[in-house]
Amino acid sequence: MTQSAVQPTPASPTPPGGHLLDVRDLHIEFRTREGVAKVINGVSYHLDPGETLAVLGESGSGKSVTAQAIMGILDTPPAHITAGQILYQGQDLLTRSEEQRRQVRGKEIAMIFQDALSALNPVFPVGWQIGETLRQREGMSRADARRRAVELMDLVKIPAAAKRLGDYPHQFSGGMRQRVMIAMALALNPKVLIADEPTTALDVTVQAQIMDLLADLRRDLNMAMILITHDLGVVAGVADRIAVMYAGRIVEHADVRSLYRAPAHPYTKGLLESIPRLDVRGQALATIKGLPPNLMRIPSGCPFHPRCPYAQQVCVDEVPHDLVLGDGRTSACHFAQEVRDDSAR
């Protein structure tokens, strides 16, 4: 059972000028006293202007680490990028100098984080923090930066923005704090916005508001967005494509509709089946048995095989390559076809 063609995820055709952002075969390991954890093992994904890519996975699957590698804010040590490329507008960011990468941060690619309370500096007013980016990067005057900060806070729909400029992060509600984060990230009109679990720390109703805001902003400002989440429910209304990560690999990559209709990887299938459904009564909720692997001892072959209902001997022996299915989706499973057919039934 050897795969003849090994291709880097052609989920959509490469446009003539190349993708806006193109992560290729990224490998990252964490070297600690306890040993080496292989956190990212050959991740490839891309992003085109104006689209939203959702990166889905459990904690520890490497979705945030990949994003931090794109931003260039991984802590080295312990993180070491051992192989791969991160192409932004055709240029490999990993070969750039730290100063060149700093220029990209915020201006080209911006990022918002999960917990806005700890992600914002507790001792500076929010207006100051939003304005700091403008003052430091654009050389704006203090007054201009203030004015622009109010505009940005209006843009993310913070009520009475001008009055709240001098307030500190802890004086805002969770949702409002996340809006401050977003305003800060938008300060330099980035072309790519990476949202790392932007709603995880929030109440369900507030989650929906923030997701709507992000979707609106993405459309109005014509950005591309990478949405990192562990919540399939969040993804559905916002994303164009989904990349599912497991143990530092992309196991499935597809457009949202076909992935929801018929997942082609047992892991994705398991995730979808474990969502409570309103339309089916009295059905026991399915779960994925077992636990995610210890990244210092990743199982042989397919890393998912210990938890996989489809597992055969081949899964223990051989790492599955991305299998390109008919409609341009890929699945890193020896039995991708069968899984999809099962799911579609």
Partner: protein, 312 residues
């Protein structure tokens, strides 16, 4: 902010009465002859006996009499009337002469702690686990482990007497240079503590989420460290140094005693040595007040520096 200060002020008033009551009770309650207790083994003249009886209202007896005497003592303390020492000098006058010297010494010590302690602490915190970091850890442990009664006389002997780099004693009107060695000795403990505190605080804050945010804003590293990290890390350090200034002023007993610096601590040192009870009680009372006030100032400082506390 205003309510915070008010509440804190109220707490301080309570603490003031609590502590002075304890000090007073310990000195006077339930003793056979309170006057002899004040004077220790020294003989007490009739004139002194009459003065002390009147001064402390020692003829008022019983629990009621005790509180009467206590309130009188507090009243005198608040009015700055500390009475006479057994040598017949006004304690208020003694303190008035001694304070400027003690404050100067404390400020030198604090400057030493800030200049070397905080700076080295920041460097050690940024370069954690480096040679610099590890050697400061060992050095500060040594400083923290060596008592002042060892450090002060040995510094005096080696640097003052043997190698003659500094004047070994300060004398009546100490110059800044004469205060330098005692200041370093006095400040060494604060230096070591400040260093360790700064190091931990900087190292912790460097790992904080907001640093990641600042990096993703594309700020230069120098700005992230010098504005974002330092502003947060220095909150506990500044608070510590504030408390320490209070401690330095009241804790200079050994250093001032050894180096013969005519400050408050030296007078207390001498009061203890000569068993001058009224002098000891007077100085200790004043130092307790200084200590309480410096704690209050520090708490307010904390609130000014940390908005999370300010708006509680």
């Amino acid at each position: 902010m205003f309510r915070f200060i008010l509440r804190r002020l109220l707490q301080m008033v309570l603490a003031f009465f609590g502590t002075t009551l304890i000090v007073y009770a310990l000195m006077f309650a339930g003793q056979g002859d309170p006057i002899q207790a004040l004077a220790g083994e020294r003989p007490v003249t009739a004139a002194q006996r009459a003065y002390l009886t009147e001064k402390y209202h020692l003829d008022a007896t019983g629990v009621g009499g005790f509180f009467y005497r206590y309130l009188d003592y507090v009243k005198n303390l608040l009015q700055g009337d500390l009475g006479q020492s057994l040598t017949g000098r006004q304690i208020g006058d003694i303190l008035q002469q001694a304070w400027p010297v003690t404050v100067r010494l404390a400020l030198i010590a604090l400057a030493v702690a800030i200049l070397f302690g905080v700076t080295a602490g920041v460097i050690a915190g940024i370069r954690r686990a480096s040679i610099f970091d590890n050697s400061t850890l060992v050095l500060t442990l040594l400083v923290l482990g060596i008592p002042t009664i060892v450090l002060a006389p040995l510094a005096q002997y080696f640097l003052g007497v043997k190698w003659q780099l500094f004047p070994p004693t300060a004398g009546a009107q100490p110059s800044l240079y004469a205060l330098l060695l005692p200041g370093i000795v006095l400040g060494s403990l604060s230096l070591a503590t400040a260093l360790r505190l700064t190091r931990t605080s900087v190292a912790e804050n460097l790992r904080a989420d907001y640093v990641r945010t600042a990096r993703s804003k594309g700020l230069v590293k120098r700005r992230i460290v010098s504005v974002h990290v330092l502003r947060n890390s220095l909150i506990p350090v500044i608070t510590f140094l504030g408390v320490e200034l209070g401690n330095l002023m009241s804790g200079a007993i050994i250093t001032e005693g050894v180096f013969n610096i005519p400050g408050v601590g030296f007078n207390l040192f001498r009061g203890i040595r000569t068993e001058d009870g009224p002098l000891v009680v007077g100085i200790v009372s004043v130092l307790v007040v200084v200590y309480l006030i410096s704690n209050l100032v520090v708490d307010v400082l904390y609130a000014v520096l940390d908005p999370r506390i300010r708006y509680e």
